[in-house]
């Protein structure tokens, strides 16, 4: 029996030497050292031997078992090293192949611009106040100091509806009247709001003009609101929106609902003021119309204009996005071509 064990031992060692693959190695382990492996069985059979042979056989069988186990571990380590080396050598991929595409969603550029505007104004205490798209003529014009047939009405080409006195709002300014009534507590409480919303103008569609566009109007009313505040506040907005180094200038203008009225220009986002086609070589891009709220408008909002004052401004998010991103055609915004939207 011992001879048989010795020959199994020799054979096992010899076989092990030829094994180069981990599958074969585990097969070898099963055959010799597994539960029904040859060495295991031999050890288990020790009890059947005559008493005087048992000790010697058992000792030898354990030696062989340990020797084979060591040999296995050694071989296993060798094969593992070999396979690792092989994998490192042969497992090369073309890293220039594209990755698996992950579909992503996103927000419309108008929304993105509006959010930036909201965020900047929110930090200055201006909260969003929204009002309706379909407005009455009084709120859109008359209460804003633009009486019927007044030539100032030529500044807005208006969509009228078949209901007399009902129009599509031409600007978000009617929100000034509504906000003053909602928040003004009968002319006793200060207000700081921005009024975003879709506006409509009767215009021929072109690369530079849309019939539908967002506007963000701002309104601050208080007992001590000055034109210097308007200038400082708008300049602060422009620096945050367009860059800390941007200069801002005011120039005289006319809106029936502000007095004095101004236009706000900011240094061109594209050329930085050197002159380019976007700013028509002036170095300035108009970003807002603004002014001190007209006393008649304050009155119409329930305030006493001898005690209260306010400023207001209006800006166009799509135009800002166009100026910042060099978009040449305003019609892109509502065409919603995914090849445009996915660039944002």
């Amino acid at each position: 029996m011992l001879e048989q064990l010795e020959s199994t031992y020799t054979q096992a060692l010899a076989e092990l030497e030829t094994i180069t693959h981990s599958d074969a190695l585990h097969d070898w382990e099963r055959r010799y050292l597994g539960k029904k492996g040859a060495v295991t069985l031999a050890l288990r059979a020790t009890g059947q031997l005559p008493k005087d042979e048992r000790a010697a056989f058992g000792k030898r069988a354990n030696e062989i078992k340990n020797a084979l186990a060591d040999a296995f571990t050694g071989r296993e380590e060798m094969i593992r090293q070999h396979e690792l080396a092989q994998s490192l050598e042969e497992g090369e991929i073309d890293v220039t192949l594209p990755g698996r595409r992950v579909p992503t969603g996103g927000l419309h550029p108008a929304t993105q611009t509006l959010r930036r505007i909201y965020a900047i104004w929110a930090e200055m205490g201006f909260q969003v106040y929204r009002s309706r798209d379909v407005e009455d003529d009084d709120t859109n014009f008359t209460l804003l100091n633009i009486p019927p047939h007044h030539p100032a009405r030529d500044m807005w080409d208006t969509f009228h509806t078949t209901t007399p006195g009902v129009i599509l709002r031409t600007h978000t300014s009617p929100g000034q009247i509504r906000a003053m009534h909602d928040y003004g507590e009968n002319g006793t409480a200060p207000i700081r709001v921005i009024l975003p919303g879709m506006c409509y103008r009767y215009e021929q569609l072109s690369a530079r003009s849309e019939i539908q566009f967002n506007q963000v109007e701002g309104l601050a009313v208080g007992r001590h609101i000055h034109m210097t505040d308007l200038k400082g506040t708008i300049a602060e907005f422009a620096r945050r929106m367009f860059g800390a180094e941007k200069r801002v200038r005011f120039r005289g203008s006319y809106f029936p609902f502000t007095e004095p009225s101004i236009e706000v220009d900011v240094e061109c986002m594209i050329c930085g003021g050197d002159g380019c086609p976007v700013c028509k070589y002036t170095g300035w891009v108009e970003i807002a119309g603004a002014g001190m709220v007209h006393p008649v408008v304050l009155q119409n909002g329930g305030y006493d204009p001898t005690e209260w004052s306010g400023f207001a401004f209006g800006m166009g998010p799509e135009r800002m996005a166009m100026n910042v991103n060099g978009i040449k055609d305003i019609r892109y915004f509502w065409q919603n071509d995914l090849r445009f939207l996915e660039q944002f």
Partner: protein, 887 residues
Amino acid sequence: MKVPISWLKDYVDIDISIEELAERLTLAGLEVTGVEYFGIPQGEPPEGINLPPSDHLVWDRDKIVLGAIREVKAHPNADRLVLAMVDYGGDALEQCVTGAPNLFAYKDQGPIDPPLLSPFAHEGAEVYDGHASDGSRMILKERALRGIPNRSMVCSEKELGLSDEHEGILLLPWDEFGHFPPGTPFQDVLGDAVLDIDMLPNIARAYNIVGVAREVAALTGQRLRLPPLDVVAEGAPIAGEVSLDIREPELNPRFTLALIRDIELKPSPGWMQRRLRLAGMRPINNIVDATNYVMLELGQPLHAFDFDTLKERAGGQPPVIITRLPEPGEHLITLDGEDHALDEYNILVADTAGSLSIGGIMGGLESEVNDPSVDMLDAMGVELDEDAERLLHGKASARRPATRNVLLEAAAWNFINIRRTMQSQKMSSEAGLRFSRGVHPAMALRGLLRCIELMRQTSGGVVAAGHIDEYPLPAPEVQVDLPVSEVDRLLGFHIPQDEIVRILRALEFDVVEEGDHVRVTVPDHRLDIGTGITGQADLVEEIARIYGYDRIPDTVIGDTLPRQRANTALEREEMVRDALARTGLREIVAYRLTTPEREAMLTPPGQPSSWPQSGYVTLANPISADKTVMRHTLLAGMLDIAAANARHTDRQLLFEIGSVYWQTGQALPEEPVHLGILMTGPREVPQWQDGRRARARMDFFDLKGVIEALLRELRVAGAVTFAPVEHSSFHPGRTAELRIDGRAVGVFGEVHPLVRDAFGLGLDLERPVVAAEFDLGALVADLTVLRDIEPVPTQPAVYQDIALVVDESVPAADVLAAILAAGGDLLEDARLFDVYRGDPIPAGKKSLAYALTYRAPDRTLEDKEVAKVHARIVKAASRRLGATLRA
């Protein structure tokens, strides 16, 4: 409005560069949108200012000079050429070969005295090519013309870039230009620049050269020189020749008349023609030009009548000029040939025989100054369409001889009524444009006097002594009491009182200082200053803009911060946007205008619509046929956009948040905010690893997955249910209504194949389009703001699967509910992982397989505990739904 600098300088000295002037005017509210240069170089802009570079021709100071043609000789070899002998200020005369026809009359007539003055270009000068139509330029070089050497040129207007005129050379009148010595750089003779100023509606007072000059004077501290109003009136008095009858003083507060006799109708003098051209008007004749000149100069539009025609119409009696409203049904044919059916508020100038003109806007055909040679329409800013052109040409042949006696009208009109009339009659004219912005009645007489004198100077006529001036409704004198503190209050910084007074006086306000108040009287050339607190604000604007907006400091708002309010609606709307974008959807923003026909396509033909039936907000003046009403739905617009994108993009996941508009009983519509979702195309984006194999397309359950993810992210508080419904826009068996606490939020499902086909997305049944339209307010009405977060489990879970066989008719939601109810506290989760039909499951049945997770929070579960719950689940499912455990 075009403002020639040379003309402006008649009324104000300009001691700054044109470019700085442009900048100062712009900042003061008279936006200079462009500067056109003639011959002179563009100047350096002020510090920090950029100007669009101008590529105009600059007349070289040495090479383009004033020349004096002293003799014109015949060309020995050519009949169509002559030799001009030009004194250019040099030692000898230069012989210049030219074909200018306007020199032929002088050919071989000997020395010309005084000489003919003309621009003269030396060899090497750059000029425009007179024969080219593309604006190309050339450098003069010596070459022989028909055998005679030539190296210089006398120039036409076109060659200098002054106009397109190239019929002959530019000849300047001696009496006007004779004081320039020959050789004077031509820049100094006719060099000029024209400002193009964008005039805002409130700035009528400056819609004229004098008005701009007044602004310049105030801005630069110069004095304003007004044009003289003296008239040499040596003719028989006007009194008794004509009378006035103003019937509507509210609409026509003032009317003035002057008369000039025995005029010679002819072209106006060169200087006047040049100024009109520079200002953008075409010269017509001396009478019409004088009215246009004064309109441009002072802002008062005028109207010239043929006095003999008026007398004829009055049967030889002194005519009565009547201003009145139209008779019912009255018509007037204006001089552009348009037949106007008059509205009851259109004020007319008439005589006893009928109407003559629409007051302040346009004359009638009958009583115009008769100039058989030309049309006057261009000069009046009237554009003709073809029909009118034909009508007029028909008339031209029948015109009477040239006018001899002119009755001149200068009137004042209610500006609102003028604008209303221009709109209703769809008319426009230079006069109407000015009157509709408000011309002060005081300007009428000034314009009348200035114009009649210019007519006298340019026509040889004799002005009748006196004038007629009816002023039944004098404009009130406007006074404003302005506390100086009010300037501080509105502007936020201090402007000294003497500076305030200086600015107001520079603008011709009359100012009386009374302590710390100033009493201001508004000058009678402007109507834009109100009274009381409005007037104070108006004056503060005048002070601020002349003081300079660039000098106003920046401050931070020091006023009380208003109460800040929660803005739940917007916050939740933005949450929905973010959640959907994270899910992989792309936001769109569509036109909110559509047509009822487009939205009707949401329902297959012949079927009743499931959309709410309410009225549309309908445009009275739609600008295009595809945008006539405000939308009722987002879905129609989304389908249009998806169809447009489908031409290049297979896989689309879109959403929109925006208002829809339902006209209910009220004047103003309801404007609920909706959420729309649309998905179509392959579920997964194509990957190169997969080659060209067909990919599964998104269906109902992809959409429902997005909706469920949204509901989870929003933490909708109410009980969410999905109920099968039928809806005309959707596939009858693949449509659900989303309900929260039993209230409908909206509908979603597979778009009806006929509907998607109608929108251009095809009928292919293998390419479904799924969509949703929800009421956003209902969706986000009740969200769990604060939620208890479960601790992360510390105990191991036991996982077991269960497959239950139920009748086809049993909804999956009921099976899940039964499992969860029976599972009790130990059942943590039950997730459906398979739905199976077919062998060995009997027909009419289906197998639903769930992966169950059991866990106890405080201990390791034992197998027998799990077995007990599992058995309970099987039993409950069997009892409630007739389910059997799949073998």
